[in-house]
């Protein structure tokens, strides 16, 4: 059976269920790379230009680890997900970077998802990808339908159950219902950041579980229903330009409105969209007097430094609550 490799990096956390459904309906076997480890990080870092951001370097590491295991590797270029909104250049140029820096990789399937260019362009690109597996257009159509269905289900599951993508992807949903309710009176902390940083436990040093073990109830952007995000983003920053960034700051604004006790922003050093947009959120947090902790990580960040700052932040939030009550 043809094997399609999907690197466990970048857009994996948002679209993996959909991609899996698509390729499996087409009759291919999906191979996912192992969770990020040191060897992957090092191999990725060694290939890319130093200024490249960490998530792209990690993607390269995953690609390298997949090269011998599959016939194709799927790295789409998600250019635009709506009118006049785009993604970061690095996500748009991802297949090009991958092809240039990992020349030994098997064929890279790189459909360009660009809704700005219209429906026909999208269909053509998906068909081109499907054509590697079957020449039956109806089968490709069925695969797309299955993918869409899975995607909607996946997207809906997270706000409905209040679970993180990691939990949704691993399929352990029952346990998390009571996690969502949590114990009354515990502090509620929203962790804001790109999914590929928040849920890659190797690079963020288990940030979410660290916070939970400090007694916090953690909220992530994926738990906010989609329509709420758009409203919140528009309120905060006017018309929006970057789709993935909108989800993040929209979620931040939503949680500020929900009066969480603190916001932790985890961003990657050198992230272009974050550098502009998180400022709006920080500004708003200052206005409504909610503690805001900006954390920036890269391949050199150490667990100790992160933990120290996190503990200090949590202590501060706890003390604030006592004072207020």
């Amino acid at each position: 059976m043809t094997k399609v490799g999907i690197p466990r990096a970048l857009l994996y956390y948002q679209y993996y269920p959909a991609w899996k459904a698509f390729f499996e309906t087409l009759g291919a076997e999906v191979v996912v790379s192992a969770p990020t480890n040191k060897a992957m990080l090092n191999s990725g870092v060694s290939r890319a230009v130093a200024d490249t951001c960490l998530p792209v370097k990690i993607l390269l590491g995953h690609l390298i680890s997949l090269t011998n295991d599959c016939d194709y590797i799927f790295v789409p270029a998600v250019t635009s997900l709506g009118q006049k909104t785009y993604n970061c250049s690095k996500i748009i140029g991802l297949p090009n970077i991958a092809r240039a820096l990992v020349p030994e990789s098997p064929i890279i399937l790189d459909p360009e998802i660009d809704l700005e260019k219209g429906r026909y362009y999208l269909y053509r690109n998906i068909y081109k990808t499907g054509h590697y597996f079957t020449s039956n257009p109806f089968k490709i159509k069925r695969a797309v339908e299955a993918a869409l269905e899975r995607n909607f289900a996946y997207r809906r599951k997270m706000p409905d159950l209040g679970i993180t993508p990691t939990q949704a992807l691993n399929g352990n949903e029952d346990k998390d219902l009571d996690y969502r309710q949590g114990s009354e009176g515990s502090m509620r902390i929203a962790v804001i950041g790109h999914p590929y940083v928040l849920y890659d436990d190797y690079i963020n040093h288990n940030l979410i579980s660290q916070l939970q073990s400090m007694g916090a109830k953690v909220f992530v952007p994926e738990m906010v229903p989609g329509y709420m995000l758009d409203v919140a983003t528009t309120r905060l920053a006017g018309e929006a330009h970057w789709s993935f960034e909108n989800d993040i700051i929209g979620a931040g604004e939503y949680y500020l409105e929900q009066k969480v006790d603190g916001i932790v922003n985890l961003s990657v050093f050198g992230c272009g969209p974050d550098s502009m947009m998180v400022k709006f959120l920080e500004h708003r947090a200052k206005e409504v007097k909610v503690p805001f902790l900006p954390l920036s990580i890269d391949e050199h960040s150490s667990e100790g430094a992160l933990l120290t700052r996190l503990e200090a932040f949590v202590d501060m939030v706890k003390r604030r609550e006592k004072l207020c009550v």
Binding site: S89, G93, N96, L101, G270, D274
Partner: protein
């Protein structure tokens, strides 16, 4: 109404010329002081730490304009992949936080450019008649075109002049003279005069200087302060510089010819196709193509200038390393931490490399 704007190359000459021609009663154009370390320091102090250099420099320049009393600020805006789209919005908030009561008016640089320019001028001049606006804009642009024409000659002369610095001196005089010109005729006369003067500069006629192409992100490529006068320094080292990206070219195509379906980058995009097959925002796609183009045109090397953390240029850098074309690339990442001496050392090594590749280097 006092109108301010950030510095960008010799754009201030055009803006001034347009404003002079339209002279709206009671309004004043505020030209911020030339960019210096102070501009950069101001910009860095009040920008998000990870913003890119053009953001910091334009913010610094706008703060300086505000200090001189500007209450309306012109800033570029774009809908696009790059950070430019949010410049105006972020900077407006920052200036408000600093206590300046300035309103932003935006010039759209990614679509509806003509309409946005017309609207901008209309707003700022209390509905100046269209005919007058057009004549003023054309007069302003003629200065831009003339200066770029002179600069092309300067770039050639710098490399081979016997008395280093003479061409640059003349160029600066030309900029000042152009700034003062009030008539089309004068602009033409100055252009002719200075090109003649440049041609009379004593040069080494036997020299065959190495040729280097410059490309990258448009702001840092064109604004000499942002790239630490790299063209002048290359000239001092005896290198002829070629730069496709000029303000006049941008204006010529973006404001006029693109509307007729003429794409100035068609050839460059075609050459970039094997490596990058779609737009990645900013000037990333063009950078890859230009490297290939310069290699095909027999240049000895290229200089790629990008602001630190510039997203499109990082894509370009990563892709550029694996292009088939064999041409040395000098990468200059510009941000507030850069030091000129470090760049000069690297440039000297780069020029030595070019000489060796041509086979006329001195073996040590």
């Amino acid at each position: 109404m006092r109108v301010g704007f950030p510095h960008f190359g010799s754009v201030y000459i055009t803006v001034k010329a347009v404003a002079d021609r339209l002279d709206a009663a009671g309004d004043q154009l505020i030209i911020p002081p030339p960019m210096t370390q102070k501009t950069l320091d101001l910009g860095v102090k009040y920008s998000p730490a990870e913003a890119c250099l053009p953001y910091k420099l334009t913010l610094g320049s706008l703060i300086e304009a505000c200090e001189l009393g500007a209450d309306i600020l012109i800033q570029a805006r774009g809908t696009g992949i790059c950070r430019l789209g949010y410049y105006a919005k972020d900077q407006e908030q920052m200036l408000r936080d600093l206590g300046y009561n300035a309103r932003f008016v935006n010039l759209d640089v990614s679509e509806h450019k003509i309409r946005s320019l017309r609207q901008l001028i209309k707003d700022l001049t209390h509905d100046a008649p269209l005919s007058k606006t057009i004549s003023a804009v054309f007069f302003g642009l003629s200065k831009l075109f003339a200066l770029d024409k002179i600069e092309k000659v300067v770039q050639k002369t710098r490399a081979v002049e016997l008395d280093k610095g003479e061409a640059n001196q003349i160029y600066h005089e030309a900029i000042n003279a152009m700034d003062e010109a009030a008539e089309h005729k004068e602009v033409k006369k100055i252009t002719r005069e200075y090109i003649e003067r440049l041609n009379r500069v004593p040069i080494n006629r036997t020299a065959n200087p190495p040729k280097v192409g410059i490309f990258g992100e448009i702001y840092v490529v064109i604004e000499p302060f942002a790239n630490m006068d790299i063209e002048v320094e290359l000239g001092k080292l005896g290198v002829e510089v070629h730069r496709t990206m000029t303000l006049s070219r941008w204006v010529k195509y973006s404001l006029f010819l693109n509307y007729l379906g003429i794409n100035e980058w068609r050839e460059v995009h075609k050459l970039a196709k094997p490596y990058v097959d779609h737009d990645v925002g900013g000037d990333g796609w063009e950078s890859v193509g230009e490297k290939v183009l310069y290699a095909h045109n027999g240049y000895d090397g290229v200089v790629h200038i990008a602001p630190f953390t510039c997203m499109p240029e990082i894509v370009a850098q990563n892709v550029m390393r694996s292009t088939r074309e064999d041409i040395p690339v000098f990468v200059l990442i510009s941000d507030e931490q850069m030091g000129k001496q470090g760049m000069l050392t690297r440039l000297e090594a780069f020029v030595d490399l070019l000489e060796f590749r041509r086979g006329n280097g001195k073996r040590i």
